[in-house]
Amino acid sequence: MRISYEWLGDFLDLEGLTPKDAADVLTRQGVEVESLTMVDLSAIVIGKVLEQTKHPKSRNDLWVHQVDLGGRVQQIIAGAPNAVPGSLVPVALPGTTVPNGKVVKDMNIAGYQASGMLCSASELLLGDDHSGILILDRGTPGQSLTTVIPSQAIMEAEVTSNRPDCMGHLGIARELGAGLDRPMKRDFMPAFTGTADPPGRDLVRVSIEDPELCSRYIGGVITGVRVGPSPDWMQRRLRASAVRPINNIVDITNYVLLEYAQPLHAFDLAKLKGPAIEVRRARDRERLLGLDGVERELTTDMLVIADAERPVALAGVIGGEETAVTEATTDILLESATFSGPSIRQTSRALGLRTEASARFERALPPELALAGARRAASLIAELAGGKVHRDWADVYPRPQEPVRVNIRPSLIDDVLGTHVPLQEAEAILKRLNFHVKVRGDGEWDVLPPVFRLDVAIPEDLVEEVGRVYGYDRVAPTLPGRRHDRWTPLAPSMDRRLDDGREVLAGAGFTETWTPALVSGTKLESLRIAAHAMRVLNALSDDMDTLRTSLLPSLFDAVALNRDRGRDEVRLYEIATAFLARVGEKNAQPEEPLRLAAVATAGTTAQEGEDGFRALKSVLDGRQLGYIGEVHPAVAAQSKLDGRVVAFEIDVEPVLGAAHVPRAQPLPRFPGVERDLAVVVEDAVAAGAVLLAIKESAGEMLEHARAFDEYHGAQVPEGHKSIAFTLTFRSPERTLTDAEVDTVMAEIRLGLEKRHRARFRE
């Protein structure tokens, strides 16, 4: 919401207040002012154009002006042709900084001296219009522009979705007034000015098909209006709010929207067939040419305003071109209605069309606001466009707004805030916010919120109203604490339990990544891991349309990314959930196993690949929990991985489940004996099988055995390999003798010969 500070002065005395003060009060109270732009117009002077001629030499369209600045005349060149002789214009003289930041200098343009600049509305930050010079409707040449246009301050404020009443200057002023304890200059509900005959409701028939979608429709009739430009001050305020002035009638509807937050629409009554208004759902394939010049095909879930024959407006979103107010219009139907928020939001989304009106209706406006807005607009039309406001308007109001009463035990305010707010102060704050407070005999308060506040329904809402105006900075920070007779012992979080793993991986040179869980479904399919994949119905893009069933594809991409950026050696891991749909169960939440996956580059040769595999395996320490291996060349190619890549992925929960507290073993009292053993077996025999055989033959004396080398070559027969083991023998009772160990070694050899036809190398 764009707020013009100067506009707030219509509703509230701003004496002694700066725009910064106002912004701070609003932010403190819950209307967050995100930016404050000061527009200082004091250095801009008013000039009167005496002469305008086309620049003869310039190839661009430039115009040379002689401008009266009150006693002296300056020559100024401009690119727009609209500052015709007699125009009053804002002039920035050399040395002046224009509000948009530009510094004006003396210039010579193709032989013509230019001493200053004629300003557009956008250069003065008075609006978005940069098409021409801003033409003033009054002012004295040579005087400061601030004699006709006050310096401005524009605030961009974020209004929360529960406060549509603050989507207008009146609501913002009310908030500010409550915070400053200053009275409002104007009542919320304007007086009704309609007196003309015949009654408005006799001039147009209004009906509502579905009260769920439209709870109120007011159709005000005003006849005999003169359509023309709206006054300068109104145009200026509209421009400051980034609304383009059209004509006085349309401008007034927009102006009241920016004041009251109630969207309005004016139809040319003569163009309405019937004349009748029917609020109904669009019929299939009905079309409407909007005020923006776009013709749209409507669907049956969209709400329209129709006359006796056809849709004339898309309810709450945009009016129709065919029934719009033009220069020729004399009689108008002023629409002020209340539409269902979700319905308007749905239509606005479906058409990709968000307007000032739809942005307000989406948040569910109170029906009472419709009446206030209609009355305000009618009196402005009568004042600025002439015309007669007819009495007794059509006002179809099938669901009257029920007053909400809230009972509150006033001590709840202190209980929730944790500080003491004197009762009188709390009551005064509620009254400043237009709440009625009745103190009952039992001390409870019977509170009636103002009609424009649909968001207040429970006692806690009232606590918030008091708290935010009282000031939360006055609530001292405390830590909660009382005697508890029950508690839950601290259980280490999953993250904490994985800390050890992260340290091990870091020590082994692996860096942790966090990659998105949404990946390309097509990619999962091509890797053939899409059987349990869940596809998002409303994905943002193809590469984020499916939940990953494995972390590995993301890690492969991570390797490719780092390779692209010049890294040859990459070691990465991630700990995150994989998502596995429960096939055949509709609407069931998927399994979400927490996974640990790691990936490492492993050179280019087969040997490097094997070494990489072994290095990765030692990280896992032999547990069988998931997949480990070298990435298949086809997969590697698909993921644009050059060279060999090894990877694993495991479920974390079983690992954590298997974790145990280490129990201390007595330190060995006697020395151990180490022996190496080179076992020659056929290539097909795995090191693990040989190790098993060694352990079986060795008995209790063997403390530890481990393979440490594998050899192929001249000293080993073709089709065979030699695996070297180191064996440690120890007894808990005595120092072993060489003879004892020799006996066991002989047993081991014998076992290996039998089981694996092994030979031995010295």
Binding site: E460, Y472, A517, D557
Partner: protein, 340 residues
């Protein structure tokens, strides 16, 4: 046969002049060597002397031996001291030359920040609770008072798998699940985890991000308690000089609702370029748990009340480590990951 005292004088002179260990060893060998040392030989020959001389010479020779040994030890200590005194010069190395790389990997900055947050809140008695990332409509919205058609729903535009099933837009569903599981307060939990919203990726937001939410349900909880908890958390994470401000805001699941800001660490709240002259940096949302939300979690709001708060882990990490683009966290670029 030499005179022990002459021998001693001679030896002590040699020791005093010995320039280093080698010379000393030579002197030691010459006088005290086991077989051919001059003092040793003297002692070895004592046996052949007449008993009258034996005692006197034996005593003198032993004294000579002790004197030489003492002198050797003293000279050695002296030389060692001299050597150590020169060590800085004799064994000088280029201390600027780097050691071999350790090749250690890095733990992700978001993991580190999440860990810090957990540690701080665990110190206040909060426990970590986790929940599913694919949630039901009820837990993600209805239970949190965000009914269908609610105007606030557009703040949580979500990814759907069916009208009933979606990727959670916040970790708040875990609060409901925790209340249902624990049943009887006190409840003090934090809920770290990944969340998803249908926002196009840009420098300040992503369709996927990580949150930590906190929930405290007990008797007589106040806005002051909530402020104190936030202040303790922020000061523990960013330093004791930081301040916290709560600003009224609106969420359907809390009443009253707030956004909370932390004072700018660069200007200390005065206003500077990095806080866009506000003096404050937005961190997250908070509020007193709405009575209906307590009811949805199976807690009786007439007996218990509480507060909750939430924020993005990325936002915390950005503030702490001056990261200016949220996308860096999820792009597995080692050049970024290795900075932490």
């Amino acid at each position: 046969m030499s005179d022990p005292s002459a021998l001693t004088t001679e030896a002590l002179a040699a020791i005093a002049q010995a320039p280093g260990e080698d010379a000393l060893a030579k002197v030691e060998l010459e006088y005290l060597g086991r077989k051919s040392g001059r003092v040793s030989r003297l002692l070895a020959n004592i046996g052949q002397l007449p008993p009258a001389e034996k005692a006197a010479l034996g005593k003198a020779a032993n004294e000579a031996k002790r004197a030489i040994e003492a002198a050797l030890a003293a000279r050695r200590a002296e030389l060692e001291q001299a050597r150590l005194a020169d060590l800085a010069e004799t064994e000088a190395i280029d201390v600027t030359f780097p050691g071999p790389p350790l090749g250690r990997g890095h733990i992700h900055v978001l993991t580190q920040v999440r860990r810090q947050i957990e540690t701080v809140l665990e110190s206040l008695g909060y426990q970590v609770e986790l929940g599913p990332e694919v949630e039901t409509e009820w837990y993600n919205f209805e239970a949190l008072n965000i009914t269908a058609g609610h105007p606030a729903r557009e703040n949580w535009d979500s990814f759907y798998f069916s009208p009933e099933l979606l990727l959670r837009a916040h970790t708040s569903p875990v609060q409901i699940r925790a209340m249902q599981r624990i049943k009887e307060p006190p409840i003090y939990i934090i809920t770290p985890g990944r969340c998803y919203r249908r926002d196009a990726p840009e420098a300040t937001r992503l369709p996927y991000f990580s949150q930590v939410e906190g929930l405290a349900v007990d008797r007589g909880m106040t806005v002051g308690d909530m402020k104190g908890t936030l202040l303790y958390m922020i000061q523990s994470l960013y330093g004791a000089d930081r301040k916290v401000r709560v600003r009224p805001s609106y969420f359907p699941f809390t009443e009253p609702s707030f956004e909370f800001d932390v004072s700018c660490g660069i200007c200390g709240g005065m206003g500077c370029k990095s806080c866009r002259h506000k003096g404050w940096l937005e961190v997250g949302g908070c509020g007193m748990v709405h009575p209906q939300v307590l009811r949805n979690g199976g807690i009786d709001p007439s007996q218990w009340n509480g507060y909750a708060w939430g924020f993005g882990i990325e936002r915390m990490a950005m503030l702490k480590h001056d990261v200016d683009d949220i996308r860096l966290f999820y792009e597995p670029d080692l050049r970024f990951l290795e900075q932490f």
